[in-house]
Symmetry: C2
Subunit: 294 residues, 2 copies
């Protein structure tokens, strides 16, 4: 990028930015449809739950004071006790304190970012919680980041294999190193040092993905979203009918406490959102609906 | 202190250290007795609750791998849904990374610390939660720190006045500047920037208290403990019989979520404990038993 002391040049990759923002919105629509279909099945079967049937996502638009904003979609369902899908397209200028920490922002603090973030906390302790997030960030550089991971209370090897298998296929279609590298990165990232335990059974995590082929990177990001869409709702459907005990529910509430500990103590994304004055409700949408510390 | 390249000199204030450690244990015993008396009243009145009556504190001894340890006392009661009193006496050597952040530790990383930490989460949303902590820390310097604050869901001016009044009296007996300074420090410390709201109704907070008269500082620390002991259990007794609604209980669970957010995102004591490899159960004993994020 040319030197631009006045900050008047456009940020790069304008066309790709527009397509990424559109994609995140499309993926949101497909995820919302998949999750609402699960609630419709439960309603059809007359499952017990709270509120009107079948439960639907409620949308809430939010503006970011510094520029841009997002749409938070939240479902409080019978099967999916709390599911949140947040899409955002924001832009602005990083504070001096942040510039040194952000690639390509040292000389020109302007940024643009778009992304989707999905967190699902099912009511049943036998249905794994899950998270998926992908984003595009543009400063004087541009790159992609994201990941997907699953947090069962009682891991089932078959479910883990399905979830990992879908992400592995997305990775291997893009680059032979992606799967081993991003899987290991996920295990390292979603780790609770103070407990000496992982948050869940992992998946993938990646950041600063900026290969010479931006189209290939964007295709990979889309494939990660589709892999999550194809794998996770199917796992929910397979387990949602299994009866659970009060002891299993209690174990879930305690496991969720570890989830909160990770997100608030260690998650860099949460801290970044909080420290940059992000919408607190959107940043903390990931927190489970009910939690216990014994 | 004399230069001591071999690290063989004793840390200062050995006699005061022993008395401080003894005091924290005594205060723990008096707090435990006051809280168990509350549970005995509830059991005598046949209040509804969980578990055997009256509920008693359970003690758990823990060792710190680097040196020393503590005793965690936890009550899961009918009135006091979760009350924890932790005393610890630890010593060791600060890591290089910590030395620069700790007064008097740059040249000699050895430290000694003793303290008491109390957190109470009552079952009733009409009874305020409360916290009190005092500690003595010794490097090549020595100082006291601590504080006490109250977190009602529905603040009652009379209770706040009783709580603040007791702490104010302890402050004013020590130094005319303590109350205005430590009250303001508390308001500043227990603040959730991402929510733009305080954790509770405040109290006092102080750190690095090291006046020329260490005896006076220690007397103040004891007075803070006694003030908490005299004020808070009396507030619990006054409110514990009031009937509450499901809406009030729900508001309590959500207010507790803010408490968790503060402790995990912002509380320097929690972060210090976690980062120095403190006992996770003891450090996180402060977290409420049941929490909700709507």
């Amino acid at each position: 990028m040319l030197p631009d002391p006045a900050g008047t040049l456009p940020l790069p990759e304008e066309a790709l930015r527009a397509r990424a923002a559109t994609w995140f919105g499309e993926l949101r629509d497909r995820l919302v449809a998949a999750f609402e279909a699960i609630e419709a099945i439960a309603a059809g079967e007359g499952s017990a739950g709270e509120g009107p049937f079948p439960a639907r996502f409620q949308r809430e638009v939010w503006d970011r004071p510094g520029g841009g904003g997002g749409v938070m979609s939240i479902l409080r369902g019978s099967v999916l006790e709390k599911a949140g899908v947040n899409v955002s397209v924001v832009d602005g200028v990083f504070s001096e304190a942040f510039r040194a920490r952000i690639p390509g922002a040292a000389a020109d603090g302007r940024f643009w970012a778009a992304g989707i973030s999905v967190v699902v906390h099912p009511r049943s302790p036998l249905v794994p919680a899950a998270h998926m997030n992908t984003r595009m960030i543009v400063t004087s550089h541009h790159w992609f980041g994201g990941g997907a991971d699953m947090t069962p209370v009682f891991p089932v090897a078959e479910d883990t294999a399905v979830f990992h298998g879908a992400l592995r296929a997305a990775c291997e279609a893009a680059h032979p190193e992606h799967w081993p590298r991003f899987k290991a990165w996920c295990d390292e990232y979603f780790w609770l040092p103070h407990r000496g335990e992982p948050r869940g059974v992992g998946g993938i995590f990646f950041d600063e993905l900026a290969s010479p082929d931006a189209e290939a990177d964007f295709r990979f990001v889309r494939d990660v979203g589709v892999a999550f869409l194809e794998a996770y709702p199917a796992i929910v459907r397979r387990r949602m009918g299994d009866p659970w005990t009060a002891e299993q529910k209690r174990a879930q509430l305690i496991k969720r406490g570890r989830y909160v500990e990770f997100n608030l103590l260690w998650d860099r994304g949460t801290r970044f959102g909080i420290e940059t004055g992000g919408n607190a409700e959107a940043v903390l949408m990931s927190l489970p609906p009910e939690v216990a510390w014994p």
